[in-house]
């Protein structure tokens, strides 16, 4: 069987004189349990206010719109303002997320529950609630599930993301640790999408154009409180 022969050849290639099979297994178990602490840049070790500033600066550098609001209850108003100017009132899709659906939405902006198979596409928007924001690169972390279908991050023309300020973490490591703590080590969500800006391509004439396959626009609404 190919598995056996591949692993046997790999083993023959990796074996060094003096390293016993037991020592190798122990080394792997130890690394898996706790890898050696890799160097972490200073910008990935930020605290409080500096962390939020880094997060926003990175988002803006990618061309992601950033809207700061005082609480989640202000989200409908902020989204209405953001969407109505350029787009009128587009179709707005959300997942099965009570945090979002129970907010007071003005007429014409009430989001509709996305159902599998709905293709969204140009002229539509979708709203997701991010699991975390990573300050070091301005990365939004979305964990897929009923409340946050992964498709919402890729099918619409405009992707809106709500994020609690308290969920902004300094580094990728912190985001992964939060994933472990909140979701559990046994089962990671099917898709963990780390998003750093709108979809883009440089494949035609070397010029960066947004909206290659995924959303043309990305906006983050950071709300204070939790």
């Amino acid at each position: 069987m190919s598995r056996t022969s591949i692993l046997a050849r790999v083993r023959a290639g990796t074996l060094r004189t003096g390293t016993s099979e037991r020592a190798r297994k122990r080394a792997v178990a130890e690394w898996m349990a706790a890898p050696p602490p890799h160097p972490r840049p200073a910008f990935a070790r930020t605290e409080a206010a500096e962390r939020h500033a880094r997060f926003k600066a990175c988002l803006e550098q990618q061309g992601t719109a950033v809207v700061a609001i005082d609480s989640l209850s202000e989200l409908p108003q902020a989204i209405t303002v953001f969407l109505s100017r350029p787009f009128g009132s587009p179709h707005l899709a959300i997942g099965d997320d009570n945090r979002l659906s129970t907010l007071h939405w003005p007429d014409g902006f009430r989001p509709a529950r996305w159902s599998p198979g709905e293709t969204l596409g140009d002229g539509t928007a979708a709203l997701s609630h991010a699991f975390a924001g990573v300050a070091e690169t301005g990365t939004l972390v979305l964990a897929s599930g009923a409340a946050s279908p992964a498709s919402l991050a890729f099918l619409p023309e405009t992707h809106l993301v709500a994020l609690a300020e308290t969920d902004i973490v300094a580094s990728f490591e912190k985001a992964f640790a939060k994933l472990r703590a909140d979701v559990g080590a046994s089962r990671v969500p099917r898709a963990v999408n780390m998003i750093s800006g709108a979809s883009r391509t440089g494949d035609i004439g070397g010029k960066i154009v947004k909206g290659a396959h995924g959303p043309r626009r990305l906006a983050v609404f950071i709300y204070a409180g939790s």
């Binding site: 598995r3 990796t14 190798r24 080394a27 690169t137 897929s144 990671v188 883009r200 035609i204």
Partner: protein
């Protein structure tokens, strides 16, 4: 794709004469190279990150069998079916079976160099399936019947005008008078055409940038989202990944992500980095109903065994290509196979045999820039030099061996060497006496085609030096 690595010299010559290609490549220093430099400058700890990235890769490769087993166990626990393929043929068979069993007619492809390596598209097409490349660059190549010329910017050799002409030819169902004069319009058209196909695709096939042993996840890094649409929308997702893609934990992944995009495009992060773990779980509204991972060896375990293990550190950022003076001059197609540039010169001979790819390790000035920018510090020049040694020892190296043998015979006999040099220098000086230069020389036609070859001035350096040490005035050049 059929390897054309043996034709490197003639392909390179053709590439050098290609003005259009030269124009496309001229964008590299101010583009990807400058962007990487700027990105690195924003990270004072970049060197420490490269060391850590190298150490993670080395540790993983030294325990690769155990990490592959750990990854497979985790992936299977998450509901992914793991397949193992010895070589390209077995990987094609596995994927073809999966596709045929499911009655697939339309296959969405995310960008995958390994799928180029195993020539997957041709295989699926021969079974009557339609396969579409969804990375925009790969799509352009597919409609032109070309192959990638760069790891991360596969269509870097194409101009905007060529893309417009191709779209008018291939998207014949669209209004002929439509405007396509900007990159934005071209991207919008490709987006619309490919979105329809994504929604209709039966199977999505992607590569993986990494496989995480801790979680059993495949990690896909893109800017366009082509990998994500290929992975989330079709009913079946097949990941094709080579054995070297494994990383132990998410913490290790974090370090590798910090050097990957910065080295590749100069972005801090690409737009999308997705960790995909298993098929749709109960309660999930979307995602594939089934997920398969094909783990491919195709000669890599042999590379580990034969002292080329360091080349398997590679995370396919393309920085060594962007910074290579040879790649900058001839582009990717001249290398004749999937992997171009310095990393291609190191790994292609391992895949294809040194006889078929013997010119590639010589396609280097050994300036060392590739090593200087490699995020995992692969000793590329040393590995190329090792191949040169092997190439010289092979049957095809007979003439070079004879030439070097003759040289070493004289080099080890200083008196004879000086005598031969004096005779040679004197003779060539005499032959060129009127002009002081040659318009044509045997064995040096490639040089004299473009410029004269200056003739020696009559005395060897050794002779001039000893004369000078004796305090004599500089010798007159005999006329």
């Amino acid at each position: 794709m059929t390897p054309a690595t043996a034709a490197f010299k003639s392909s390179a010559e053709k590439a050098l004469a290609d003005a259009k290609l030269a124009k496309a490549l001229a964008g590299l220093p101010g583009g990807l190279v400058a962007q990487r430099t700027a990105a690195k400058a924003r990270v004072p700890e970049f060197e420490a990150l490269r060391d850590a990235a190298r150490d993670i890769r080395d540790h993983t490769l030294q325990h690769l069998d155990l990490y592959l087993e750990a990854f497979a166990a985790k992936a299977e626990a998450a509901g992914t079916r793991v397949h193992w393929a010895e070589d390209a043929a077995e990987a094609r068979t596995i994927i073809a079976h999966l596709a045929v069993e499911r009655g697939a007619r339309l296959v969405a492809k995310g960008k995958s160099m390994v799928s180029e390596e195993i020539a997957l598209n041709a295989c699926l097409e021969s079974l009557g399936m339609k396969v579409f490349e969804s990375d925009l660059g790969e799509y352009l190549l597919q409609i032109r019947g070309e192959t990638p010329s760069h790891i991360i910017a596969p269509a870097i050799h194409l101009s905007q005008d060529e893309v417009e002409a191709d779209f008018r030819r291939v998207h014949a169902h669209l209004a002929p008078e439509r405007g396509l004069e900007t990159p934005e319009l071209l991207v919008a058209e490709a987006r619309a055409v490919l979105r329809e196909r994504f929604l209709a695709a039966d199977i999505g096939i992607t590569g993986a940038n990494f496989l995480v042993a801790e979680t059993g996840s495949a990690v896909i890094v893109t800017n366009e989202g082509n990998g994500d649409l290929s992975a989330h929308l079709p009913r079946t997702h097949i990941v094709l990944a080579s054995i070297d893609k494994v990383v132990p934990t998410l913490a290790d992944l974090a370090t590798l992500l910090r050097v990957l995009a910065r080295s590749a495009t100069g972005q801090d992060m690409t737009a999308y980095t997705s960790l995909l773990t298993g098929p749709k779980a109960p309660g999930d509204p979307d995602g594939p109903a089934e997920c398969h991972i094909v783990i491919l060896d195709n000669g890599r375990s042999e590379m580990l065994r034969s002292g080329l293990g360091e080349a398997l550190r590679c995370i396919r950022c393309g920085a060594c290509l962007n910074h290579c003076p040879i790649y900058n001059a001839v582009g990717g197609h001249a290398y004749g196979w999937v992997y171009a540039g310095p990393i291609g010169a190191v790994i292609s001979p391992a895949f294809l045999g040194i006889e078929a790819a013997r010119d590639l390790p010589s396609a280097s000035t050994f300036c060392g820039k590739c090593e200087e920018v490699c995020p995992v510090k692969i000793p590329l020049t040393r590995l190329m030099r090792d191949w040169r040694v092997k190439s010289l020892a092979s049957a095809a190296g007979a003439w070079e061996r004879a030439g070097l043998g003759a040289w070493s015979f004289f080099a080890r006999r200083p008196r004879l060497y000086h005598l031969a040099a004096r005779l040679g220098v004197g003779a060539t000086h005499m032959l060129a006496r009127s002009r002081g230069a040659f318009r044509w020389l045997p064995f040096a036609a490639a040089w004299t085609r473009g410029r004269d070859f200056p003739a020696p001035q009559g005395h060897t350096f050794q002779a001039l030096w000893s004369k000078r040490k004796r305090g004599a005035p500089p010798m007159e050049t005999p006329r």
